[in-house]
């Protein structure tokens, strides 16, 4: 928002802005955050007041490739502009400086499955090792934390915006399911995928949201957003969440700030929250197996040069071009969907999802907002690469997946630095169409801790 003011008055030009961003991106080149570099094109595209933004490489932007972080789409040209690409360009006067790295097909929490190699966060621990920027929107979080743009886009299916935001000290917004159109965004779980943004402040997030929210004629699952009224000055804490020490401190400090602002806190118990990870992965794996069936190399995508017969085209292409995590989830997903298993897993998960909804419905009768951790402290990139235990990795999503399962909105607000040198954030969650409640409460927290100005910008 500050940049907008400066652009308005003409104190800086958009070209200066873009060049400054480009310089930062150059400085942090070895973080491997960018798949398609567009700074020069952006300089040409920019109007006098344009804001530079970066797109996660699952958003279609005509004239660029969209790879979804996968070898199978490494040469895939965006066939049209995504609805959000159009809205950002037209309603927010934005130009796009980069397509950013992402975990392959948005599956991952550390940014390590991107086909050109893992992405690193600009933040380092006390030994000088780079932290992981989180995932799957790893490139988008890294590039904004590095000062390579003024905002970036991501998609959040199980925490893929909020968790990287927490790990890189940014505001990350996952909006209510259906608030933002998915047309032109490569999908993973059709009924969880929520496009959203990374910004430096909650104020910026609110601005982008208001300018781009709304129904799309291309997408049946979009809703006519009508803000839910903020009537209850109560916030819930979830009893079953017990994060590590430094994360808990951040929560406690946030709680104090909000109590000073007149909010009352209550503790609620949601026993089913313990299996939200399992539930989530049943849906993700089933959906991944379904959504990724279209990648066969027949019409587009990498096709092996040598093959004999139909089966080999499919086998070779998919074996050679999908990474191990993607393959793992497809295999699990297909297993879960077999007619012998589907009732025990998929249909059963649907029933539990319904029960979970009923628990939360009760909670939101008393409160408008939930305060909880976003994620545990980040691991270093080295640690993520040397710890191949998928189940352990999946459990990192504990604090974020319930929001996707329920279609809620949630934002990460950065609070402070932990002792090890990494940023720590907290999460605010509200019911569907509760974004304005989150912006209201989020701004109170953000203004107080002012992480962006006090810490992040100083670092860049």
């Amino acid at each position: 928002m500050e940049a907008k003011k400066l652009l308005e008055t003409g104190e800086i030009s958009s070209k200066d802005l873009i060049l400054a961003c480009k310089k930062n991106a150059e400085k942090y080149k070895d973080l491997n955050m960018i798949l398609t570099d567009r700074y020069d094109e952006a300089l040409k595209d920019a109007g006098p007041k344009s804001i530079p933004g970066a797109l996660k490489d699952v958003f279609f932007l005509k004239g660029t490739k969209t790879t979804a972080g996968s070898k199978i789409l490494k040469d895939f040209n965006s066939p049209f502009d995504a609805d959000l690409t159009v809205r950002l360009r037209d309603n927010c006067d934005s130009v796009f400086v980069a397509k950013t790295c992402t975990d392959e097909f948005t599956m991952g929490s550390f940014g390590k499955t991107n086909f050109t190699g893992p992405t690193k966060s600009p933040w380092k621990n006390n030994n000088g090792e780079h932290f992981s920027p989180g995932g799957s929107s790893s490139g988008s979080s890294a590039i904004l934390a590095a000062g390579g743009c003024l905002y970036s886009t991501g998609t959040d299916t199980g925490g893929s915006i909020r968790e990287p935001a927490a790990w890189t000290g940014l505001v990350g917004g996952k909006f209510s399911y259906g608030a933002m159109p998915r047309y032109g965004i490569i999908s993973l779980v059709v009924n969880f995928d929520s496009p959203g943004y990374f910004t430096y402040t909650v104020e910026d997030l609110e601005y982008l949201f208001n300018k781009t929210v709304g129904i799309s004629n291309h997408d049946y699952t979009t809703i006519d957003y009508k803000p839910a009224p903020h009537t209850k000055k109560k916030i819930a804490l979830i009893k079953e969440f017990s994060p590590s020490h430094e994360v808990q401190i951040a929560i406690d400090e946030t709680k104090k700030v909000l109590e000073d602002a007149g909010y009352e806190f209550i503790e609620v118990s949601i026993p089913l929250i313990a299996i939200t990870i399992e539930l989530y992965y049943v849906f993700v794996c089933s959906s991944a197996a379904s959504e990724l069936s279209k990648f066969d190399g027949i019409f587009y995508g990498d096709r092996s040069k040598e093959y004999v017969g139909n089966e080999e085209i499919y086998n070779k292409c998919r074996t050679e071009c999908f990474g191990p995590e993607v393959k793992r989830r497809i295999l699990i997903g297909n297993y879960l969907m077999y007619s012998a298993n589907v009732d025990d897993y998929y249909w059963h998960a649907l029933r539990i999802q319904q029960l979970l909804w009923e628990s939360f419905e009760k909670v939101f009768q008393d409160v408008d907002c939930i305060l909880c951790p976003t994620a545990e402290l980040p691991m270093t990139v080295e640690e993520t690469l040397s710890n191949p235990d998928p189940v352990k990795e999946y459990k990192c999503d504990l604090y974020t997946t319930f929001v996707n399962l329920m279609g809620f909105c949630g934002i990460n607000v950065p609070i402070k630095l932990a002792g090890c040198g990494s940023p720590v954030g907290i999460q605010l969650v509200s019911k569907p169409q509760g974004e304005h409640i989150l912006f209201h409460i989020g701004k109170i927290v953000d203004k107080h801790f002012d992480f962006c100005r006090r810490i992040l910008w100083k670092k860049i």
Partner: protein
């Protein structure tokens, strides 16, 4: 048929019917399965990521109309599911269909002497087309995503004849409700047949694209399965294809390989919810169907009736003629034999000819009033086919009216008897059939205008005197 009953033959049909929509089921591409390959496709139809399906609501109306014409219940809520399988003709890796909650259920279609129950009709997107040439296969996705209805019968059919009757009546009904173009040569209707005997496992024969092949495949399968049973061989679940060149079915996949489609609701598409009033409206506007029309027109000659009913546009032409005359049988006869003959002879369609329903009506009326003979009637029809005429005017100008004046008839008879004395002799000697010879001569000289019955009457009197 008796043999089939002994064998306990059970046949169920799955009929794939392309709906007459302007664009495809889930995309705006034109619905045109033929034409330049891959011309009628959008990003969604070729399986690009980041695309979303948008339902063609007209397809709902066509499916509901078809279901109502087949006595189905139209389900107020129906849901789209994904049916997953890998094959080049399926660019998304799945077909969008309605597995658990179809739009229509529990209908029936009557064939002579029997009711065939319909389990359901659901909507789905068609697959693309593969053309094999040598070692290469070519893919055409024009057909991919075209709106289809799949109609599934209960195994009530017991012979190939019954199957043919069912399919013929079904196609007729589809023409009446105008929900399908019904061009089998273009693949607009395709059949899968399920056959079992003696309560054994059923064999599926897929992708039959003509009624002839369907009949042949059924007959072949019944024989093949009964021979297997005689030899003591077990019949296990199997999918087969029909090889029309050799008249045999061949195995495609056995039970163990039968695909598990991993059905999953397509979450990009909300459930379809139809309002009762919308369904009622379609029901009110259904046209009269063949069965009802046969009932209402059972006074007509059976053959002529079949021709009329089997051709909806001919039937409505018939109705137009009835605005000018009450002579139903006569009108039906002219339309189905004489005019049909002219259409074929001149290779001109009825609508391109010059004849009008009024022409035909007036001819019928004149015949009824005995003002012209049948032969004259045919002459007028022929003339009207090729040029615009006013029937009554032509009759007057060309002096075509029937001669009924007794004086004139008497004179004609006497003249004929004078001209053919030998025949008179033979008649008087007992060859009474010769009277027709005289009738014929008189008709000839009067250009068919003499009233044949009157002539005969008068001749009898003269010849016997």
């Amino acid at each position: 048929m008796e043999k089939n009953l002994k064998l306990g033959v059970k046949i169920g049909l799955e009929v794939h019917i392309q709906m007459k929509t302007k664009s495809k089921l889930f995309s705006a591409a034109a619905e045109n399965g033929i034409g330049i390959p891959n011309e009628n496709t959008t990003c969604f139809d070729v399986g690009y990521p980041g695309t979303l399906p948008l339902l063609n609501e007209h397809a709902l109306e066509l499916a509901a109309r078809t279901g109502l014409a087949l006595n189905c219940t139209i389900n107020e809520v129906s849901i789209f599911d994904r049916k997953h399988y890998f094959y080049p003709d399926s660019p998304n890796g799945y077909q969008i269909t309605q597995q658990y909650h179809p739009i229509c259920s529990n209908g029936y279609l009557d064939i002579p002497g029997k009711r065939i129950r319909i389990n359901k009709i659901h909507i789905e997107g068609d697959a693309g087309k593969m053309v094999h040439a040598g070692s290469c296969s070519y893919l055409d996705w024009n057909r991919s995503g075209i709106a289809l209805m799949e109609l599934v019968t209960e195994p009530d059919i017991q012979s190939s004849e019954e199957a043919v009757q069912f399919v013929n009546e079904l196609i007729l009904i589809l023409q009446y409700v105008d929900t399908c173009g019904c061009n089998l040569e273009n693949g607009e209707i395709r059949f899968d047949v399920n056959i079992s005997i003696l309560n054994g496992n059923r064999i599926e024969v897929k992708n039959l694209n003509s009624i002839k092949f369907m009949k042949e495949a059924i007959e072949y399968e019944i024989v093949r399965q009964s021979e297997m049973v005689e030899k003591g061989e077990e019949i296990s679940r199997e999918t087969r294809l029909y090889d029309s060149d050799h008249g045999v079915t061949k195995s495609l996949r056995k039970k163990e390989q039968i695909a598990d489609y991993r059905y999953m609701q397509d979450m990009n598409l909300p459930p379809v919810v139809l309002e009762k009033s919308w369904i009622e409206n379609i029901k009110q506007h259904l046209p009269k169907l063949p069965a009802k029309l046969r009932e209402e027109n059972n006074d007509l000659n059976r053959e002529a009736l079949d021709v009329l009913i089997n051709n909806p546009s001919l039937y409505s032409y018939f109705c137009k003629i009835l605005e000018y005359t009450d002579e139903r049988n006569l009108a039906a006869s002219f339309l189905t034999s004489d005019i049909n003959g002219l259409v074929n002879k001149n290779e001109t369609k009825l609508k391109d000819s010059k004849i009008t329903p009024q022409n035909i009506g007036e001819v019928c009326n004149l015949i009824k009033k005995n003002e012209i003979s049948n032969k004259t009637g045919k002459y007028l029809i022929d003339k009207a086919f090729n040029e615009i005429i006013d029937v009554l005017k032509v009759v007057k100008e060309e002096n075509l009216g029937k001669i009924t004046d007794i004086e004139i008839i008497n004179n004609m008879c006497k003249e004929a008897m004078v001209n053919y004395p030998k025949e008179v002799e033979r008649f008087k000697n007992g060859n009474e059939k010769l009277i027709e010879f005289f009738v014929g001569q008189i008709l000839k000289t009067s250009s068919g205008r003499a009233d044949a019955d009157l002539v005969r009457e008068r001749l009898k009197i003269f010849l016997h005197s």
